[in-house]
Structures are given as structure tokens and as C-alpha cells.
């Protein structure tokens, strides 16, 4: 898949922290959901963002769209400094980057028909005249493979897969250049996922839409993403071309992740994991965030946080042992 090498989105040193603990008195403590993250997405490129719960991938996606406000760092989109925009300018920028959520049940307002859901962005940004609405909505539905009669349906009258298609249609309504897809198929039945993935792949092929594909499911990311970024506790630990990162991971955490994926074949036996070192991750004050669970941990790892460094083949890894 040829991607236009011009970067569309550049994120640098992004930090999104959430306050936790003492508010009125005492020192405030912070949850560093996104901690010093750099990321680049080129036009028509799909970047996979993987990690488990609490790694910050969801927060990163939302921070880029300013659905949650970062406390530091920069986000450049098409040459525009996103974080410094004023509300009205931000609203105009929203046309160009959209989001699709995980939960098809929660992403649509229960009281509105599909027609209203899809018409809202069109009318808001002056992209359609009220007279054309039905035609435009029908076209959007067709883009995601739904018959026109769906425009009169309410969310509770559609299946999860159909709802997710409507969510994608809504994201497409404004003709964005970037879509942040946050676990778009995780809540769907396995046999339905293919339908949604095909739609997303088509978007890239036919319209050149760039995508940040956030998922904890490596097998899905492998099919969809050109490059893959691995996060752990707010930081990027590995990054590179998808088949390489997933096929031959370098970072111990990513290796563990890949090993743990169950294989749908009874003949293949996974190596058993060790006993649970699964303490609720307290963010280490110093050193590597993965030190507490790493099988290759050394003293240096506990003292100094490793930086993301370039290795052979354009791979980036943050690990002292590599």
C-alpha cells in the first residue's frame, strides 16, 4: 500500500495527565495517561496503536482530537498547531479529523433516528441543504453498505454491526482526512468484524483517509495497519513496520503480548506463563515502567527510564537490554 510520505499528523512530547488524589490540600498526584509521546501519521497511512488496558492508547487518541485536553506537548495537523487553536477554529478543524468508538451501543444517542444522527454534522458545517438531506444521508448509508430504509431506524432496532456502520458513516459525513478508530471491532461478534474491517480498509483505498487504529487485538491490527506502535503505561515501547513488530517483536513486553495471544488451533500449544506478577501497576518513580514484570530486568532498568532508540530496519525500541 503506497502511502504519501507527507506527514499529516505529527505529535511530539505529548503529555496528558489526570489528577488523582488530594485536591484541596496537599500535593496533587497525577496519573500520567500519556507521557511524552511522539507519533507521526502520513496521508493515507494506517497506524496501529496497541497495548493493554491502562496503557494510554485511548487517551492518546482522544488527546489528538482534543476531546481531552493535554497538559503539554504539540499536535500538528496539516501544518496547524492544534493545541493552540481557539474554540471556533477548533470546530472548523474537527471536520478534518473524526473518531469511531468501540461500543456501538453507546456511540449513538438512543433517542435519535439514524437520519438525524447523520444529518447533524452535515447541517452543522453547512455541507448540505435541508432539501438534499435525504439524498445525502442515503448516500452515506450506501457507503457503509446499509439500505436507505435504515435512516428511519432507532439505535435499539439495529444490531451491533449495523450500529457501528452508522457510527462510521457519521465519521465520514464530514469527509475527514484522519479517522481515529478506537477499538472499532472489539465489541462486535467475530463473524461481523470482517464486514467492518472491509469498510475501513476501503476508506483508505478509495478515499486515502489516514487512520489511527487503536486496538488491544493484535490479529486485527496486523491486517489493517501499515505501522504499529506499542504503548505501555503511557509511553511508547516499540514502533515499526507492522509485520516486523508483530512477527518479530523486540521489546520484552511486546514479546509477552504476542506470546499470550491464543491461537485458534488446538494443535498449537502456547508456552505457559509464569505465576501472576500481576500487581496493579503503580507507576515507578524512576526507571522503566515495565521493570516490575520484565523477565530480563537488570539494575539499570530500575534506575533509568530507557529512551526510544532506532534499531536495525527502522525499528524503535525503548529498552536497555536491546
Amino acid at each position: 500500500m503506497r502511502t504519501d510520505r507527507a506527514p499529516l499528523l505529527t505529535v511530539s512530547h505529548l503529555q496528558t495527565w489526570f489528577p488523582t488524589g488530594g485536591r484541596w490540600f496537599g500535593r496533587r498526584r497525577w496519573l500520567r495517561a500519556v507521557d511524552d509521546v511522539d507519533l507521526t501519521i502520513c496521508r493515507a497511512e494506517t497506524v496501529g496503536l496497541v497495548g493493554e488496558s491502562g496503557c494510554g492508547k485511548t487517551t492518546l487518541g482522544r488527546s489528538i482530537l482534543r476531546l481531552v485536553e493535554p497538559r503539554g506537548g504539540d499536535v500538528w495537523f496539516g501544518g496547524i498547531d492544534v493545541l493552540r487553536l481557539r474554540p471556533r477554529e477548533m470546530r472548523a478543524l474537527r471536520r478534518r479529523m473524526q473518531i469511531v468508538f468501540q461500543d456501538p451501543y453507546a456511540s449513538l444517542s438512543p433517542r435519535r433516528q439514524v437520519r438525524q444522527v447523520l444529518a447533524e454534522p452535515l447541517l452543522l458545517h453547512g455541507l448540505a441543504l435541508p432539501a438534499d438531506l435525504d439524498a445525502r444521508v442515503a448516500r452515506l448509508l450506501a457507503d457503509v453498505g446499509l439500505e436507505p430504509y435504515f435512516m428511519h431506524r432507532y439505535p435499539h432496532e439495529m444490531s451491533g454491526g449495523q450500529r457501528q456502520r452508522v457510527a462510521i458513516a457519521r465519521a465520514l459525513a464530514l469527509e475527514p482526512e484522519l479517522i481515529v478508530a478506537d477499538e472499532p471491532v472489539s465489541a462486535l461478534d467475530v463473524s461481523i468484524r470482517a464486514q467492518i474491517l472491509r469498510i475501513l480498509l476501503e476508506l483508505r483505498r478509495k478515499r486515502g483517509i489516514a487512520m489511527l487504529f487503536i486496538s488491544h487485538d493484535l490479529s486485527v491490527v496486523e491486517r489493517v495497519a501499515d505501522r504499529t506502535v506499542v504503548m505501555y503505561l503511557g509511553r511508547i515501547v516499540e514502533e515499526g513496520e507492522t509485520t516486523a513488530v508483530i512477527g518479530a517483536p523486540l521489546h520484552p513486553y511486546m514479546q509477552r503480548l504476542v506470546q499470550s495471544v491464543p491461537v485458534a488451533d488446538p494443535v498449537v500449544r502456547r508456552r505457559p506463563t509464569g505465576a501472576c506478577a500481576d500487581a496493579p501497576p503503580a507507576i515507578a518513580a524512576t526507571g522503566c515502567a515495565f521493570a516490575a514484570r520484565c523477565p530480563e530486568v537488570a539494575d539499570l532498568c530500575r534506575r533509568v527510564a530507557p529512551l526510544l532508540e532506532t534499531k536495525a530496519g527502522g525499528r524503535l525500541v525503548a529498552c536497555h537490554q536491546r
Partner: protein
């Protein structure tokens, strides 16, 4: 009972959540009966001047007509002044029911707006607004009411305002809670993502989804307001005679309870019936509108 996630074919007409709720409500016979009773009471109250056989304040030959037990000419009997209690009850309905409705409207209106603003903005705005609510709640409302009633003469308008403006805090908290939990739902983020301005998000997305709680609270509150007015009037600090209100009618009948039970009995029963019906209506609304059961997946 509950709804299940449906996936109807193209030939099945769509049904809005409202339609689903109406159907569920209709299936609840108790709630529907309560609604009919309430409707009848309000209708009767509105038509009181046409329906009342006598002028509620008419005093004729007191000695001949006082303390008469219920009969064909006086279905609810007469009181100590010989006034027809049925007519008084009809006019009393006007007072009690209108106060209930209007006070609730004010309380719900103010509370919803306040709670929605606090919930939507969150952060410092929310903190400030809610601390104010805490202060108001800590205030002894009853004494405040007494004080205000002492300052202004207690007529219907005054009572409506006083009752309404001292009762909005509960609603504010409830709505704020609903809005906070709705805000976390993805479809609100989706609205922000397409650039919808905050005010529109509140009006178009948050409030309609919080409406269910509002309606249920409102139904309960009307019953509560009717009871509150009755209580105040009973104590003599609400609506004062000769204007009839169910509360002051019960009060008047207190002394003669053993001799002329009907003076207190009928207004008292009407009060109980009305409040009960509003509670049943609230229950029915809550069951019908419960969003969780709109699409529960059983399997």
C-alpha cells in the same frame, strides 16, 4: 416487560424509544388507572364552577343545614356552617391540584436548568454550583417557608413560589448526576467530535436522555407538593378559610371527627387517593422509561 435488541426487517416500521415506552406504560394497568384518575381529578377541578351544585361559600340557614351527614342532596354532607362539602371539595381540588402542578413546574424547571449547567460544565463550575446547593439544602426549609409566609400573605401564587423555590435542589442533584453519567457516554463525545457547540449538546442530546428521570421525579413531586400544601393548610399557615383547600378542610373537620366524620373524611381520602395515584404514575413511568431495559441482551 423489557425490550430485547431487535433487528427488524425492512418492512417493519421503526419505533422510537418514546413509542416503546408508551407501549410499556400502557401495559401497566395500575399506572394507567392512576393516570385516568388523575386526569379525571384535574378535569373535575377545571370544571368545578360548572359541576358544583352549590356555591362553596354559600351560607344559608346555618342551624337548619349544619352538620348534615352525606345524602343525595349533599353527597359529602355539610360542615359547621351548612356549606355543601361536595362543592367545597371541588373547589378545594382546584387549589390543591393547581398548587401541586405549578410548584412542581417551578422546582423541576429551576432544578433541571441548574443541574444541567453544573453537570455539563463540570470542574470548578460544578463544584461552585453544588456547594451552593449544599448550603441551601442545609438550610431548614420549613422555617424558611414559615418566615416567607409570615412576610407575604399566603395565597396561591405565594405558596406556589415558596414551595417551588425551596424544592428544586433535589432535582438539581439528580439531573447533574444523570448528565455526568451521560457525558461519559460515547455519543456525547461523538457530538463534540463533529464540533457541536456545548449549548446544543446540552439541549439536543443530554436533556432528552435525562428526561426520563425528570418525568419520574416530576410525577412524584406533584404528589409531594399536594401533600405539602395540605400540610401547611392543615396547620393554618397555608391557604386560609374561607377559600377551600383539602388541607384546611381536614383541619376544620378535626374537632368534629367523632360527631361529623364526613367533614374530614372526604377531603382526607381525596388527598390520599391523589397522592397515591401520583406515586403509582411515577412508578409506571419509571418502569416504562428505564433506558436499561430498552435493549437488554438476554442471551
Amino acid at each position: 416487560m423489557a425490550g430485547v435488541q431487535r433487528n427488524p426487517g425492512s418492512n417493519v416500521p421503526p419505533r422510537s424509544p418514546l413509542a416503546v415506552a408508551v407501549r410499556r406504560f400502557r401495559a401497566n394497568r395500575l399506572a394507567v388507572s392512576a393516570l385516568y384518575v388523575i386526569g379525571a381529578l384535574y378535569l373535575v377541578a377545571i370544571l368545578a364552577p360548572l359541576l358544583a351544585p352549590y356555591d362553596p361559600s354559600a351560607i344559608d340557614d346555618v342551624l337548619a343545614t349544619r352538620y348534615q351527614p352525606p345524602s343525595w342532596t349533599h353527597p359529602f354532607g355539610t360542615d359547621e356552617f351548612g356549606r355543601d362539602l361536595f362543592s367545597r371539595a371541588l373547589y378545594g381540588a382546584r387549589v390543591s391540584l393547581s398548587i401541586g402542578f405549578l410548584a412542581t413546574t417551578i422546582a423541576i424547571g429551576v432544578g433541571t436548568a441548574y443541574g444541567a449547567v453544573a453537570g455539563y460544565f463540570g470542574g470548578a463550575v460544578d463544584d461552585a454550583l453544588m456547594r451552593l446547593v449544599d448550603v441551601i439544602i442545609a438550610f431548614p426549609t420549613f422555617f424558611l417557608m414559615l418566615m416567607l409566609i409570615g412576610l407575604f400573605e399566603a395565597d396561591i401564587v405565594v405558596l406556589v413560589l415558596i414551595l417551588g423555590l425551596t424544592s428544586w435542589t433535589g432535582t438539581a442533584r439528580l439531573i447533574r448526576g444523570e448528565i455526568l453519567s451521560l457525558k461519559a457516554r460515547n455519543f456525547i463525545e461523538g457530538s463534540r467530535a463533529i464540533g457541536l457547540p456545548g449549548a446544543l449538546i446540552v439541549v439536543r442530546h443530554l436533556i432528552p436522555n435525562a428526561l426520563a428521570s425528570v418525568l419520574v421525579t416530576a410525577a412524584l413531586m406533584v404528589g409531594g407538593m399536594i401533600g405539602a400544601e395540605a400540610g401547611l393548610s392543615f396547620l393554618g399557615i397555608g391557604i386560609r378559610p374561607p377559600t377551600p383547600s383539602w388541607g384546611n378542610m381536614v383541619s376544620a373537620g378535626q374537632d368534629a371527627l367523632l360527631v361529623a366524620w364526613w367533614i374530614a373524611f372526604f377531603p382526607g381520602s381525596l388527598l390520599a387517593l391523589t397522592i397515591l395515584c401520583f406515586n403509582l404514575l411515577a412508578d409506571g413511568l419509571r418502569d416504562a422509561l428505564d433506558p436499561k431495559t430498552l435493549m437488554r441482551k438476554y442471551v
